[in-house]
Every structure is written in structure tokens, then in C-alpha cells.
Amino acid sequence: MSVVEKHKEEAVYVYQAPIRIWHWIQAFAIFTLAVTGYLIASPLPSVGGEAYDHYIMGYIRWYHFVAAYMVIIGFVFRIYWAFVGNSHARQIFLPPVWRPSWWGEVWHEVKWYLMLISEPKKYTGHNPLAVLTMHVLYVWGTVFMIFTGLALYGEGTGPGSWQHSYFSTWIIPLFGQSQDVHTWHHLGMWVIICFVIIHIYVAVREDIMSRQSIISSMISGWRMFKDDRPPDDLH
């Protein structure tokens, strides 16, 4: 794309269909995981009667495990798509932390959020601060939750199961004991919740205040631009 003084910026196709579907499934699964996970640690008020009349904890745990597998399979797929998808699909996995100029752009974004500058840069993909946040909190947060989650799940499936053999056997002693893994998994949930709050807020804010579309792009896949100057990331 040639950089010219004044040109009409067309919409760019950024988020391919599998990425969009994956994103909304993740959103749904993570919401389910947080709600059911909280209820596993702090169960609903006790119900009376006979045990065979109810299966409340059983269903809550079942939904947690189903949603967890959706996240795991989704995450594996997402890594696969980073290889076969377009260049935007790789962005959150590989922040160019070795490039000083990239850190300069991160700092530029920070200043934008601190309202020290009146206009942000224009990006087709994620802005550098978004890439950094997603890489640290989302990518590594999810890896942490998948590993600790499978270690805890392996305790139930027991010795001989793949979850136990590949996860529980080394992760549980690594943290100390089972209770510690529970605690860290629980703290991980709050990290993800904090990420979600920030993620949704900045998505809405950027949609209104930045120079490109955000929320509609994750539905249609197309990035729209609000002005005709060229974007700061080249594509």
C-alpha cells in the first residue's frame, strides 16, 4: 500500500471467519467457566431431601468441564490458525518485544489512554498495547488455566488417565499440594475477569474514540476507518 498524502481508506478484512467464531465461543465458554468455577468454590445454598433427587453440584461441575474443553480445543485450534490464517491471526502470539520502535508505540498508546495526546495512531490490527495485554493476560492466562485446570481434573479421573499422567503428576507437586493448585486456579479466574473488564471497556471506548472500528469488526471481520489518512501498521 503506497502512502499518499490524501487517499480514501477502504475497509480491510482483518478477522477471518474461524477467528470470529472462535472469539465468541471463547467469550461464552469463559463466562460459563467463571460462573461455574465460582460456584464450585462457593456452592449455592444447600438443598434438602434425598441425594438422588438432585444433581446440582454435579451439573455445575459438568458445565465447567464442558466449557473447559471448549476453551482447550478452541485454544489448540487458535494456535493452528496462527499458522494457517492471515497475518493478523499471529499478532497476539508474537508481540515484537525485541523492537524498540514497537515499545515506543506501546508508550504512545499508554499516553493516549492517559489522555496526554489528542489523537491515537491508526491500526488495521490490534494496537501494540492491546497486543501486549492480550499476550500476557489472555494467552498466558489461558495457558495457565488450562494446565492447572487439567491437573485438577486429572485428580478426579485418577492415575492412568492422560490428564493425571501428563498434568497432575508434575503440576501438583510443583505448586506444593492440591489445595495450592486450587488457590492458584482460583486467582487465575480473577486475572481473567480483570482482563475481560478491561477488554470490553477498551473495545467500546476504542469503537467510539479511536480511528477505526472495533466491535463490529469482530462480527463482520471488516475493519472500517474513520479518516482517510494511512494506517500506522503497514499491510
Binding site: A41, P43, S46, V47, H54, P159, S178, Q179, L187, W190
Partner: protein, 358 residues
């Protein structure tokens, strides 16, 4: 050479019939098929009793108290006929120099062929001066005997993990057996619990005697046959957990109806032990059956995980003790608040900018 178990048993007037019954029971207690009973009998008829030196570091003797209450096999059978308990300062007749001399005697006669059982652990601070046995630091005695033994059994949570004397801030630097620096490289079997179940203790010894090898251990060194499942997995109250029926307070209807103790802090879901299958006092009961939540006594650092009656662990290092939920909710509230303020400022800024543009 020591007599065989069988010879000792016969000398004590035990009939062959009773002896074979005992072998079947031992096979059952070990979770072996009945076909192993003749193997156990064969071992007991032909093998000499294994000498055991039972050392005591910082401990409360609850492991010994548990051990002597074993019902299958009876502790007296173990002590009198299965092993040759040469040294155990709590229950031996000898005292003082006589008692200490037995250690050297056993080391000389059975070098590399006796079992070292450790109850309690060694404090390392002040060169081990917080635990003195016969005028010397316990840690020296432990290292010396470990040098010559065949294998080490770490009885209880003290020897296995550290237990109460190693709880924060661990003032004497009490250290579990496998972490004692300079200890000879010998196989260590951890039998954690505060105390361990008596039948588990005697079964571990019976297994080692019968098959002349260590029982299969998990990657943390615990015998798989007793420590591969959580209390929760075999708890008879588990159906109430799955149903969502909990004791909310110790005096409520749920407590009377024997509902799940999860909400009053039961550590059954995170505790590996055989209490819910083997149970205690000859299979009579176990804490959960008596209406008390499991405190997780066989787990590493169970004293430092917050209240016994709380589900969520206390996390240190935040100035005050707080649970994951307290910390998480605070973080989420701070983030939420920051977002709200930021949003407010953004709106104001946008309005004023629009005003400028106009």
C-alpha cells in the same frame, strides 16, 4: 540370625490355622488377591525377621500411638513376629546408654539390611540443637543410621512433609527426612498423615517383608496402594456433594442428616489418603463419618492453608491474610473503578473536544 516370623508365632502358641488366617487378612489389607496369601505364608515361614530401628525426632508420638492400634494385622504380631523392633525409644524396655548401644549393635550386625523408620523430623537451626537424643543432635543420629540402612520409612506428616513444627514461620527449621542435607541416598517411603492410619503403617511393613521390595510409590514417594485417591473420591457422603446438599453450620438440619461437609471446610477433595476406605480404629469410623470435615493432615503444609473450617486457602504476602476471592474481588473492583473513572473522563474529554471543534 533372627528367627522366622512363623517360628516366633508358633513359639507363642499360635496355631498354623490361625497363622494362615492371618496371612489371608494381611493379603486383604494390602489389597492383594487371595492368591497372595500363600506367598505371604511362605515368606513368613522362611524369611528372618527384619530388624527395624525406629528413631524419634521432633514429634508428638501420634504415629506410634496409631501404629500400636493396628487391627489387621495386630500391632503385636508385627512387633513380635514380623519385624524385630530393635530400637524404639518410646516403647523399648532399655533406656539410656543401653538403649543407644543397640543402635550400634544393629548397625554392626545388619549393616545395609535393616529398615530405618523415622517418626518426626530434624530441626536444622543451631546445628540441630533443638532436638537432642542421648546428648547429640537428632540430625546426626539420623544421618548416621541412614548411612547403614537398607531403606527409610518416613512415618507421618512430620517425617514426610514437616507438619506442625515446620508450619510458618518454622522457628527451628524443622526439615522432613528427604530434605535433610547430607543424608545418605536411600529409598524413602513417605507414609504421611497426622498420624497415618495404623493399618496403612503395618501394611507397608508387611508388604516390604513379604515381597522383599518397596511397595510401588507415586512420584512424591507415597505408596500408591494407599495414597493414589482422594478422600473425596471414596467418601460415603459424596452423593450429597454431587446433589448440592451441604452442612452450612454444625448445628443445622444438614449436619443432622449427614450432608456433605464441603462448605464447612472439608479438605477431602484435596487430600490423598485411605481414610474413606480403610477408616480408623479397626474400620470403625473416620473424621467425616463422625461429622467433622477432613483437615487434610496427610498433605504438605496443611497447617498453613488457613482455617480448617474454610473452603478457600489464606494467601499470605498481601499484608493481611486473604482468600483468593477477597483478593480477586478487590482487584476486579479496582479495575472496574478505574474503568468507570476512565470512562467518565473520556466522556468529559470528548464533550469538551466536540465543543472545541464546533
Amino acid at each position: 540370625m533372627h528367627e522366622t516370623f512363623y517360628e516366633v508365632m508358633r513359639r507363642q502358641g499360635i496355631t498354623r490355622r490361625s497363622f494362615l488366617k492371618y496371612c489371608s487378612l494381611a493379603a486383604g489389607a494390602l489389597g492383594l488377591s487371595p492368591a497372595y496369601a500363600p506367598q505371604i505364608a511362605q515368606a513368613m515361614e522362611t524369611k528372618p525377621r527384619i530388624p527395624v530401628l525406629w528413631l524419634h525426632g521432633l514429634e508428638c508420638t501420634c504415629c506410634s500411638e496409631s501404629f500400636i492400634r493396628s487391627a489387621h494385622p495386630l500391632a503385636k504380631d508385627v512387633i513380635l513376629s514380623m519385624i524385630s523392633l530393635d530400637y524404639d525409644d518410646t516403647i523399648m524396655a532399655a533406656a539410656g546408654h543401653q538403649a543407644e548401644a543397640i543402635i550400634e549393635e544393629t548397625i554392626q550386625k545388619y549393616d545395609g539390611n535393616f529398615i530405618l523408620a523415622v517418626e518426626g523430623n530434624a530441626p536444622l537451626d543451631e546445628d540441630g540443637m533443638y532436638c537432642i537424643i542421648g546428648g547429640k543432635p537428632f540430625v546426626d543420629q539420623l544421618r548416621h543410621v541412614a548411612e547403614h540402612c537398607k531403606a527409610i520409612i518416613s512415618w507421618g506428616s512430620c517425617a514426610s512433609w514437616g507438619c506442625v513444627q515446620a508450619a510458618r514461620p518454622n522457628p527451628t527449621r524443622a526439615t522432613p527426612t528427604h530434605k535433610v542435607p547430607g543424608l545418605a541416598d536411600k529409598p524413602i517411603i513417605k507414609v504421611p498423615g497426622c498420624p497415618p492410619i495404623s493399618e496403612v503403617m503395618t501394611a507397608v511393613i508387611t508388604y516390604m517383608l513379604t515381597f522383599e521390595k518397596l511397595p510401588e510409590l507415586d512420584n512424591q514417594g507415597r505408596p500408591k496402594m494407599f495414597y493414589s485417591q482422594r478422600i473425596h473420591d471414596k467418601c460415603y457422603r459424596r452423593p450429597h456433594f454431587d446433589a448440592g446438599q451441604f452442612v452450612e453450620r454444625f448445628d443445622d438440619e444438614g449436619a443432622r442428616r449427614g450432608y456433605c461437609l464441603y462448605k464447612v471446610g472439608c479438605k477431602g477433595p484435596t487430600t490423598y489418603n485411605a481414610c474413606s476406605t480403610v477408616r480408623w480404629n479397626g474400620g470403625l469410623s473416620f473424621p467425616i463419618q463422625a461429622g467433622h470435615p477432613c483437615i487434610g493432615c496427610s498433605e504438605d503444609g496443611f497447617w498453613d492453608k488457613g482455617g480448617f473450617y474454610e473452603r478457600l486457602t489464606d494467601i499470605k504476602g498481601f499484608g493481611v491474610e486473604a482468600s483468593a476471592d477477597q483478593i480477586g474481588m478487590k482487584a476486579a473492583a479496582i479495575v472496574g473503578g478505574a474503568v468507570a473513572i476512565h470512562a467518565g473522563v473520556s466522556v468529559v474529554k470528548r464533550i469538551t473536544q466536540k465543543g472545541d471543534d464546533a
